[in-house]
């Protein structure tokens, strides 16, 4: 993959969705200026994403094709949800089930834009700045589809929205560019669950940008499950803009993939906001998982809490960068952050970096990061009660990981994620 091939892809998309030609052009310009992020850039210092993409994907510009996918493959027992499926970046209506009520709109973003949906057109591109990096620029210029979710005023959406991003790489490598827009109106409440998966052995890449706006007193729970056991490289940028008294909970579960780069940014633009960011990465093989997060406290009296935990085995590599900004007027802010890692092998590594920039003087902020091995004394204690060493280790790892799940409200989802963790940790 080269920058030239990305520009070819961008030019292919240029005429599509005429209502947003200006936005695409803005993305194109930003990409021409920035190119793909290089290793020397601070935000990508530990994650050689551009180098790996150039090495592992040819990316000849060609149209993606909708491939077959068994509904069984993506079904989750105990999860009753609306469903939106994208295969190779293309909307798959046969596998999707959209809500029909009047208080919620769930539709492919291209349809919303082409149909002139005013809310979609008003907010698209407003929160994700194409100048953030080359991937957001590329995405802005060349997204093919994605989902538009609009929870209207006072809507309590009865079921979660389950988004599936599937790649079929059996015949060729796949590159998809997905754009999502979520708008939660005043007092509305919404749960969104994203899942990545694939069939086939070829290398593939996905570039996702999700923008969300949560109006006053609205609630959004956003779950992301990155458990693609194929050769997926992925970039996911999520930016959430929060208005007063809104509540946002994000959960990032990264369990597999070749390379995962998540950028998650919350802008807390009001008082009385509560935000929780949870992350759990269980890495093995040569997986690289990079979580860059930003919490931007712009107004007084809001609360944010972030906890990311990781268990790293084999040659896997983890990166955590957590920024907290507290602006001068954001007095009485409470902002907490923790990143905890357990290394299971000598060749697994973690780079963790908290970054707090606080301009207000009456705030409570804390951060902490730890990286270590399992506590030998605790293992001995369990063994001394008759538990074999492997089980003792598995019990401790499971206990370490499961804490993140305590906060999941949806039981079907919780059981699904818990089952994956149990299997991975032999519990």
């Amino acid at each position: 993959m080269s920058e030239k091939s990305v520009i070819d892809l961008i030019d292919q998309q240029a005429g599509l969705n005429p209502r947003i030609t200006a936005l695409r052009e803005k993305g194109r310009e930003a990409f021409l200026k920035s190119g793909l992020p290089q290793n020397k850039e601070e935000e990508f210092r530990h994650t050689p994403i551009t180098r790996l993409l150039q090495k592992n994907l040819s990316m000849e510009p060609k149209a993606n094709k909708l491939a077959a996918l068994s509904p069984e493959e993506i079904r989750i027992d105990g999860l009753d949800a609306y469903q939106v499926v994208f295969i190779n970046g293309i909307y798959a209506p046969a596998l999707s089930s959209l809500p029909t009520g009047s208080d919620i709109v769930v539709t492919p973003l291209a349809d919303a834009v082409d149909g002139g949906n005013e809310t979609a057109l008003e907010h698209l591109g407003k929160y994700a700045d194409p100048q953030v990096d080359g991937f957001v620029a590329w995405n802005t210029a060349a997204w093919t589809n994605g989902v538009f979710i609009h929870a209207k005023r006072n809507a309590i959406v009865d079921k979660p929205i389950y988004l599936v991003y599937w790649h079929n790489t059996e015949s060729a490598e796949v590159v998809s560019v997905i754009r999502n827009l979520i708008v939660v109106e005043t007092n509305a409440q919404l749960e969104v669950f994203e899942r990545y998966g694939s069939t086939g052995n070829a290398n593939h890449f996905s570039n996702h940008v999700t923008e969300a706006l949560v109006h006053a007193n609205g609630g959004l729970d956003l779950y992301t499950l990155q458990n693609d056991n194929g050769n997926r490289y992925q970039y996911a940028f999520t930016r959430v803009h929060q208005e007063p008294s809104s509540r946002v909970n994000t959960y990032a579960f990264t369990f597999a993939g070749k390379l995962v780069r998540n950028t998650l940014q919350l802008a807390l633009d009001g008082q009385g906001i509560e935000s929780h960011m949870f992350g759990l990465y269980l890495l093995s093989g040569d997986t690289i998982a990079d979580n860059h997060t930003v919490v931007d406290h712009r107004q007084p009296n809001s609360f944010s809490n972030e906890i990311y935990k990781g268990i790293l085995d084999d040659n896997s590599k983890g990166v955590f960068n957590g920024k907290i900004y507290v602006r001068p007027q954001a007095q009485k802010t409470n902002a907490f952050q923790a990143n905890r890692n357990i290394l299971m092998s000598d060749s697994a590594t973690v780079n963790t970096k908290p970054q707090l920039e606080i301009w207000a003087d009456d705030v409570k902020c804390s951060h902490g990061c730890t990286t270590g091995q399992l506590d030998e004394e605790a293992i001995f204690y369990l063994q001394a009660r008759g538990i074999d060493k492997d089980t003792a280790k598995a019990m401790m790892l499971f206990a370490f990981a499961i804490e993140i799940l305590d906060n999941i409200k949806n039981t079907g989802l919780r059981h699904h994620v818990e089952a994956i963790i149990r299997e991975r940790l032999h519990q």
């Binding site: 001995f380 009660r385 538990i387 003792a392 401790m396």
Partner: protein, 250 residues
């Protein structure tokens, strides 16, 4: 039941046990006393299989088997139980879940069937009474945020659940007020029988008022320098350890 012959052990370059000899028979209670740094806790740890220590010489037979060849969990399954001086806190693992896993592994190793949830709870409730421990405590993360007394009671509760043949109590009285001490001692006494044995490792004689030993051994510089009956403990309490040191020096 337990036969220790010329046991020597070291940690790093430092030799701590310098040839211990001890015979413990079923039904007996042995107290191991001694000044700080004499090797009491090392002896307890070596018997339980803590890997930090290297056994450089000697033999330990437990019910005719070579104890030193066994992994810590195998020793536990054979019936060795160490009540820790400093019980470990393990966040996220509840005592109940931990005990269920432990007991089932021990039962299978001893050729029994595992317990179903109902039988396990019944057994647990029975054993909880022994040490006056509340179920809400056992639902919590193992030892996390427990007081000193709660941790020690939890140790004895675990001992009651696993029904060991040989219980080693490592400084179980340290950090306990007299009421907690009585509860813990009472639990231990109720578990005593003609078929099991107890080794009480302690610095102070106080615990031995409540768990009365058949034999008292004084450990000094990694060796048992004096053995006697419970009267020896009283003498140590009255005179301190200095006279032992003087006696050994001569």
């Amino acid at each position: 039941m337990l036969s220790i012959k010329n046991l020597q052990a070291s940690i790093g370059d430092k030799q701590i046990l310098n040839g211990i000899n001890l015979e413990v028979k079923a039904g007996e209670v042995h107290a191991i006393m001694g000044p700080n740094g004499s090797g009491k806790s090392t002896l307890a740890s070596v018997l339980a299989g803590r890997e930090d220590y290297e056994v450089t010489s000697g033999e330990v037979e437990f019910r005719g088997k070579n104890l030193l060849e066994m992994a810590p969990e195998e020793r536990a399954r054979e019936g060795v139980f160490l009540a820790f001086q400093y019980p470990v806190e393990i966040p996220g693992v509840s005592t109940i879940n931990f005990m269920k896993t432990a007991l089932n592994q021990v039962l299978v190793a001893r050729g029994h069937q595992t317990l179903d949830a109902v039988s396990f709870l019944k057994l647990m409730k029975e054993k909880m009474k022994l040490v006056d421990i509340d179920q809400s405590l056992l639902n919590r993360s193992l030892n996390e945020g427990f007081s000193g007394g709660e941790k020690k009671r939890n140790e004895i509760f675990q001992m009651a659940m696993l029904e060991p043949r040989l219980a080693i109590l490592d400084e179980t009285d340290s950090g306990l007020d007299i009421d907690a001490l009585k509860i813990v001692a009472n639990g231990v006494n109720k578990l005593r029988s003609s078929s099991n044995a107890t080794i009480v490792v302690t610095h102070y004689q106080r615990l031995l008022d409540y768990i009365v030993p058949d034999f008292v051994h004084v450990l000094y510089k990694g060796k048992i320098v004096k053995s006697g009956t419970k009267e020896l403990a009283l003498e140590l309490e009255a005179k301190g350890y200095d006279w032992i040191k003087d006696e050994v020096a001569v």
